[in-house]
């Protein structure tokens, strides 16, 4: 669905600096803890059913013996023109007007998995099983995020609960939201500062500035999905 704007200025975006990424996967862990992403177990992960809202693609650059690893963290690209949205028969995949991100309404989802097929980034995850959370483990759960039952799709929300909390704090203190005040879990956890989050509608925000960088590119830009995640990657082997 195309972007709808009704006088709301927010347009959240993310910049991923691949030249800074060390592939430590801290973002994956932080995301799982923040969003109650189910741990599906070793066997399922090996089979290809591990659930990650953000995952790190490890690739190799160069030819042997001059090889170096390259990392590309991939999460939902929060497309402005998202392929997942129009194919959902029940409006479970929708565009939020306020934050300009794609959200998944879990209790509206009937599990056709069409959105997952149609997502060129493979960012959508399907709950093949009910989450298995034994007794003491339930205390790690984040009360701000729903637990998804089996049969529904889920995906990265840019930690929409943190965006809402940030907005509420700002409005309680009667001031506009400051740049950098809202950080999704992955951004907060990134030790090398490869991930930067902010409001793209504010041209002076750090994320807007970085998105202008000459190293910038969008994942599969040719598909016309208008992603809100910008990747930075230089030409050199150890960063440009």
């Amino acid at each position: 669905m195309a972007e709808v704007s009704k006088g709301i200025a927010e347009k959240w975006g993310l910049v991923v600096d691949q030249d800074r990424c060390t592939g430590c996967n801290a973002c994956v862990v932080a995301c799982s803890m923040e969003n109650n992403v189910p741990f599906t177990g070793e066997d399922n992960v090996a089979f290809g059913r591990g659930t990650y809202w953000i995952y790190n693609k490890r690739m190799w650059e160069g030819a042997y013996p001059e090889v170096a690893p390259a990392f590309q963290p991939v999460m939902c690209q929060q497309c402005g023109s998202a392929p997942c949205e129009p194919v959902c028969p029940t409006f479970a995949a929708v565009h939020s007007e306020e934050e300009q991100i794609n959200l998944q309404i879990y209790n509206r989802c009937i599990g056709t998995r069409y959105c997952a097929n149609n997502c060129p980034y493979h960012a959508r995850q399907f709950n093949f099983q009910d989450p298995d959370i034994p007794e003491p483990m339930n205390s790690y759960l984040n009360p701000d995020v729903t637990i998804r039952r089996r049969g529904v799709m889920e995906k990265c929300t840019f930690c929409v609960q943190r965006i809402v909390a940030g907005r509420q704090t700002a409005s309680a203190e009667d001031r506009p939201l400051r740049d950098g005040e809202v950080t999704p879990a992955c951004v907060a956890a990134c030790p090398s500062g490869a991930l930067v989050f902010g409001d793209l509608s504010d041209p002076s925000s750090r994320v807007s500035q970085m998105a202008q960088n000459e190293r910038q590119y969008k994942l599969m830009d040719e598909l016309g999905t208008r992603p809100k995640v910008t990747y930075l990657k230089g030409g050199g082997r150890n960063g440009g």
């Binding site: 392929p83 194919v87 069409y114 093949f128």
Partner: protein, 479 residues
């Protein structure tokens, strides 16, 4: 009613063609009462073998289909072989397969009726029944493949307190609407020509069968006015159902064509799917006719080598049309120049699952092209049975290539995957085959499978006329 007379064939009768016109059903008439008796016997004769099959298939439906499906509902989709990035597997493959099968029933019946092809007469009903039950089996899959089937009604536009509609931009909602439309109209189209035959059965049965036929025959008496209206209704439906039929499989193809998936996003998919559906459907008609002919009493009188011959020609033509569209799909993919599409098409032919692709081509092209040219083969029912069965294997593999194999080979190599169906999925697929066969088997003893009145009408219209010294088969057009 203008009575026009058409001459068949050449005046000079070649030895082979018209050596014995009695070989053709239309020139081998029997009295109406005799036909009625044969059809009634066909319907009421049940052997031990029949009951064994019925019980076996019934058990298959209960265990393989509903048992496995129930197990899947109670435990979750993890029992399937689906995994990232392949989220649609054999359920959708079989769904498309059944919808395709359901096509040709109507195709054979409605199109041949509209074009007044005389050979259609004895098997229109068998074909229509295949449509209805094929749809019944296929329509289960959109439910089976859901992650949360218990809330399937979210797809239905029903009134609710939150004023929520389904998303009419989603092809899945189009599917739902198209399939229900087709199921409804094809059932009516099956029922209309059935009414006079039900009345015939009503007059020749007693007890519970009599009461049931009495209700179903809607008080049919066979007056001129009734016939006039019935024929008008059939005519209207035959014309109206053709666009419905085309739209249904086009919409099924849109499930794929409107998506962004490389290898699915193709404008040729609409006609390509329709041709494939007709190819697999006409083949399935032949398969079923062979089974009917060899199991039902007196069926060898109604179904003759000429019918297999005529349908064999149709299959050959559609196999060629399918090959053309298949080639086109590749040609456009190559010409379009999108790297991802090229990779997928190459992977189909050279990847780890290339055997699927080659088996498909052998079954869909090589086998029909090599065999169906031959009149002798076309007129040998058991050979036609094997050939058409193989064509349907090929068509199943075509859908398999299009769905899981294409999904597993998308734009980013990091996300490539391989899908293997697991026992539960295979069980459910076999279960719907049992369901289809079971419904057909039961129905064959409940309704007259041969439209007696249509056969008789045709036999009355066909005569051997003397032109000079030669006897020429001819047909009188009745309307």
């Amino acid at each position: 009613m203008a009575a026009e007379t058409k001459l068949f064939g050449k005046l000079k009768t070649t030895e082979q063609e018209h050596k014995d016109p009695k070989e053709q059903l239309m020139f081998d008439p029997r009295p109406r009462e005799e036909l009625n008796r044969m059809v009634m016997e066909m319907m009421t004769t049940t052997t031990r073998k029949f009951w064994l099959w019925a019980i076996g298939l019934g058990a298959g439906v209960v265990v393989l289909l509903f048992g496995a499906w129930g197990y899947m509902i109670s435990t979750g989709m993890w029992v399937t072989g689906l995994r990232r990035p392949i989220y649609w597997g054999v359920f959708i493959v079989t769904f498309v397969f059944w919808i395709g099968i359901s096509h040709a029933g109507t195709f054979v019946s409605a199109i041949l009726r509209v074009f007044k092809s005389e050979f259609r007469r004895p098997f229109t009903r068998a074909a229509e029944l295949m449509t209805t039950f094929g749809l019944a089996a296929g329509a289960l899959y959109p439910l089976i493949h859901l992650g949360r089937v218990w809330v399937f009604y979210f797809m239905v536009p029903y009134p609710n307190a939150r004023w929520l509609w389904p998303n009419f931009r989603s092809p899945l909602v189009w599917d739902l609407l198209a399939i229900t439309t087709y199921l409804l109209s094809s059932t009516i189209y099956l029922y209309l020509p059935l009414v006079p035959d039900l009345a015939m059965a009503r007059d020749r049965t007693t007890g519970i069968r009599h009461s049931a036929y009495k209700i179903l025959a809607l008080g049919w008496r066979g007056t001129e006015a009734e016939w006039f209206r019935l024929k008008k209704a059939i005519q209207i439906f035959a014309f109206a159902i053709i666009p419905v039929m085309f739209s249904v499989h086009t919409i099924v193809s849109w499930d794929f064509a409107v998506s962004q998936v490389a290898g699915w996003h193709s404008t040729i998919f609409g006609p390509y799917f329709i041709i494939g559906a007709i190819l697999s459907g006409v083949s399935a008609v032949v398969t079923i006719l062979y089974v009917l002919r060899s199991t039902l009493k007196h069926m060898d009188y109604f179904l003759r080598p000429e019918h297999f011959d005529a349908l064999g020609k149709l299959i050959l033509v559609f196999s060629m049309a399918w090959a053309y569209f298949f080639f086109n799909d590749y040609l456009l993919g190559w010409y379009g120049g999108e790297a991802a599409v090229r990779q997928i098409l190459t992977a189909h032919a050279t990847g780890p699952a290339a055997w699927v692709w080659y088996t498909m081509l052998i079954c869909n092209i090589v086998i029909p092209w090599l065999t169906l040219w031959n009149r002798k083969i076309r007129r040998t029912p058991w050979l036609m049975f094997i050939i058409t069965l193989l064509i349907n294997v090929g068509m199943y593999l075509e859908r398999y290539t299009i769905i899981p194999l294409t999904l597993g080979h998308q734009r980013t190599p990091f996300d490539w995957g391989i899908y293997t169906p697991r026992p539960i999925e295979i069980s459910i697929v076999l279960g719907t085959f049992c369901l289809f066969t079971f419904l057909y088997l039961v129905m064959s003893r409940l309704i007259p499978l041969v439209p007696v009145w249509e056969v008789q009408e045709g036999q009355v219209a066909h005569t051997l006329r003397k032109v000079g010294k030669a006897e020429v088969p001819s047909v009188t057009e009745l309307d």
